[in-house]
């Protein structure tokens, strides 16, 4: 079953960044340089948070604009990145095309940072804001 990460209820988000740090830590790094998820305020912390993460679109905008087919469609939605084909910082079209801002940037390698839908971040969310969702399950907001 194809998995994706779902934002269940962003109103529960307290902005603790546990998901963001988990994402880089999964790859063996501290800090946030490799993270593919961002919890940021909605026009100031007063108004709460929004969680920006790849939604595993069935027809992803990022893949449509990729000139080198570095972003391959994943069965069930979303994309996989073939770093060898990617033009990196010279291009960045995928980053511009994603309407959610979910294509992050790995400055160290100068390539996009793309969610792999592993769900490691969700294991560290203390408030059930995000969860891994299987294909065909109810669409979260």
């Amino acid at each position: 079953m194809t998995k994706r990460l779902a934002v269940i209820d962003s109103d529960l988000c307290v902005g603790c960044q546990s998901c963001m740090f988990a994402c880089s830590r999964r790859l063996g790094f501290a800090g946030l340089g490799r993270s593919c998820i961002l919890a940021k305020s909605v026009g100031g912390i007063t108004r709460g948070f929004t969680v920006i993460v790849c939604r595993a679109c069935p027809e992803p905008s990022c893949a449509k604009v990729c000139p080198t087919e570095a972003l391959q469609l994943r069965e069930g939605g979303g994309v996989r990145l073939d770093v060898k084909k990617c033009l990196g910082a010279d291009c960045r079209l995928c980053q511009q095309a994603c309407p959610f801002g979910s294509v992050f940037w790995d400055d160290q390698n100068d390539k996009p940072a793309i969610c792999v839908y592993c769900g490691y971040c969700a294991e560290y969310c203390p408030y059930d804001v995000i969860a891994v969702e299987g294909e065909g399950e109810a669409n979260a907001r």
Partner: protein, 583 residues
């Protein structure tokens, strides 16, 4: 670890609008980070005897080796010479500044000099921009400053925006620096030091990776600390009702300062308790960067516009134990809506809410006793419980229309030196007191603690456990032992609320993973050395334990552990001085 970004100190000169980075590996190896590093940099950069509001006064910000690696290590320590006490200024804030600073690639920042015209600093990774802030200077609401800068600067989600309000511009000696709308470098007047430098705000953004030598060990240690934090019952308390949970227990034991400590129990305590505030107003809980606990409690206050039916505004206002004490019980304010508006005003204006509450409490009593005149209050007829009068007076403390308000803007120690009423002027060591009338250990901590705060030595806890049965020597030992350990926590910039999670053994292991070569056995030694340096700085700047003023009021009104003996308190102070000077 070679080229550890923690060892990089960003030095900014506001006078010449220049900056450079200095590598200080030895300093960090000896003193870890946070408080330990900040006092070293202050020693280096602050010339003896200077006026704290002169350009020579440096502002130091420091973070620690665990910041950006582990949860709950996201405090930024600020150090400067305090314009309120004239000696050590140390203030810690949560929010996002620590993680942003670390992930921008620095362990500390030192800001010196003063700008000719208002500026704000914009620090994005390796670049520092000096941006004109003339248009922002003079704006009445500090929240607006945050909004303007938020729209103009990049880095949303991984940045901090520190700013001052009018109080900082007007050099109110207890002006705060506000960060992420709801956290503060509140105490000891950092906002006035910003104001004296014409520094309106600082934006810092950074989201780099940090390299760990052993990723597997890193993940294992991380999981242990994370699980300990989210499963801890103490941390649950901070998450659920929050620090305001302490209002009712402190009131029940007779330790809640009430109406300038004419009383130590407040009839209106229930109405402003954490439980009531949560039931009536709690609108959101939020967290500091990289902290799963989310102890920041935000009230949603809905108010109608009187002239316009069916038109409302909703203000989101943060509350905690200390602000509720300072603007609530201390002023006899039990109207929770009025209290929230006072807290909101303090943030809009950018004053330390604790000092402001104590100042207003003194002024209320001074008016009752005829030491100050109603006409000098310029229309703010101060009366216990009258939040509207307090709101008017607070604005005038910031704008300072006359001699009385100019004196109040310098703190209660100074105001009482001009108008009398020192017996009930509730500053200890020059700093307005926190909300713990619990007994001799609390007051000894306020008098002699390196930042005159309850936070470093937790004297209230000693009081509540010992019920006034301990000798001066035992109290002194306990306070210094706690303060010594907390120097390590604040050097690692671990939140004091997480002190149960970060045991000595866990800190040592986390340091090891972070590449900080400090063994468990030497932690206390480093803590003692940091405390010694801080106390030496205070003595250098004129602090004298013999000259400490003990307000008569705290000896008259029974505390949670009964009447406090002056001789016991003086003896404890003397013992602490001996012990601190022989560290």
């Amino acid at each position: 670890m070679p080229d550890n970004p923690l060892h990089r100190v960003l030095c900014i000169d506001l006078t010449n609008q220049q900056y450079r980075v200095e590598e200080k590996p030895h300093l960090f190896e000896e003193s870890v980070g946070g408080t330990g590093i900040a006092i070293r940099l202050l020693e280096e950069e602050c010339p003896p005897g200077i006026d704290p509001l002169r350009p020579e006064n440096p502002i130091v910000f420091a973070v620690g080796p665990l910041t950006g690696l582990f949860p709950l290590a996201s405090k930024t320590v600020a150090m400067f010479k305090s314009p309120l006490t004239g000696n050590l200024g140390e203030s810690h804030a949560g929010g996002r500044s620590a993680v942003s600073l670390r992930l921008a690639g620095y362990g500390a920042v030192v800001i010196k000099g003063a700008s000719e015209s208002p500026v704000y600093l914009s620090i994005h990774d390796d670049k520092v921009y000096f941006r004109d802030a003339s248009a922002l200077w003079g704006m009445t609401n500090s929240h607006t400053i945050g909004r303007v800068i938020r729209e103009r600067e990049p880095g949303s989600g991984t940045r901090t925006i520190m700013r001052i309000g009018r109080a900082g511009e007007q050099l109110v000696r207890y002006a705060s620096v506000i960060t992420e709308t709801y956290r503060h470098f509140g105490r000891l007047g950092l906002g006035a030091v910003f104001g004296s430098k014409k520094l309106k705000a600082i934006v810092i953004s950074g989201n780099r990776s940090l390299i760990v030598a052993n990723p597997k060990q890193y993940r294992k240690t991380y999981d242990e600390i994370f699980q300990a934090a989210v499963n801890s019952s103490v941390m649950q308390k901070y998450h659920q009702v929050g620090t305001a949970e302490n209002i009712e227990p402190l009131n029940a034991v007779g330790g809640l300062p009430t109406m300038n400590i004419k009383e130590s129990r407040f009839d209106g305590a229930k109405a402003i308790s954490g439980e009531q505030m949560a039931q009536q107003y709690l609108g959101r809980r939020i967290a500091c960067a990289h902290c799963p606990i989310a102890c920041i409690h935000i009230a949603a206050l809905r108010e109608p516009y009187e002239q316009d039916p069916y038109f409302y505004k909703t203000s989101m206002i943060s509350y905690d134990y200390e602000p509720i004490y300072a603007m609530g019980s201390m002023l006899g304010v039990s109207d929770s809506r009025g209290l929230l508006k006072l807290l909101d005003d303090a943030d809009r204006l950018g004053v330390d809410v604790m000092s402001a509450g104590v100042v207003l409490a003194w002024a209320t009593e001074a008016l009752e006793k005829g030491l100050i005149k109603l006409e000098d209050l310029a229309g703010a007829e101060l009366k216990w419980g009258d939040h509207q009068a307090y709101r008017r007076a607070l604005k005038m403390i910031v704008e300072q229309p006359n001699d009385l308000y100019r004196a109040l803007a310098r703190g209660v120690e100074y105001a009482s030196s001009q108008y009398g009423g020192a017996d009930f002027a509730l500053a200890l060591g020059g700093n307005e007191m926190p909300g713990y009338h619990t007994g001799p250990a609390a007051y000894a901590g306020f008098l002699m603690g390196s930042r005159h705060s309850h936070l470093d030595s937790a004297g209230y806890s000693i009081d509540l456990k010992s019920k006034n049965q301990q000798s001066a020597s035992k109290i002194a030992d306990a306070l210094i032992a706690e303060e010594t350990w907390r120097q390590i926590l604040s050097s690692a910039v671990v939140c004091f609320f997480a002190r149960g999670v970060y045991t000595q053994e866990r800190i040592a292991r986390a340091f090891d993973v972070a590449g900080c070569d400090v063994r468990s056995e030497t932690l206390l030694q480093i803590g003692g050395e940091t405390l010694r340096r801080k106390y030496s700085f205070k003595l250098r700047e004129g602090f004298s334990p013999k000259k400490l003023r003990i307000p008569q009021r705290i000896l008259e009104t029974p505390s949670a552990s009964g009447i406090i003996s002056e001789s016991l308190l003086r003896e404890t102070v003397s013992q602490m001085n001996q012990k601190l000077t022989s560290l």
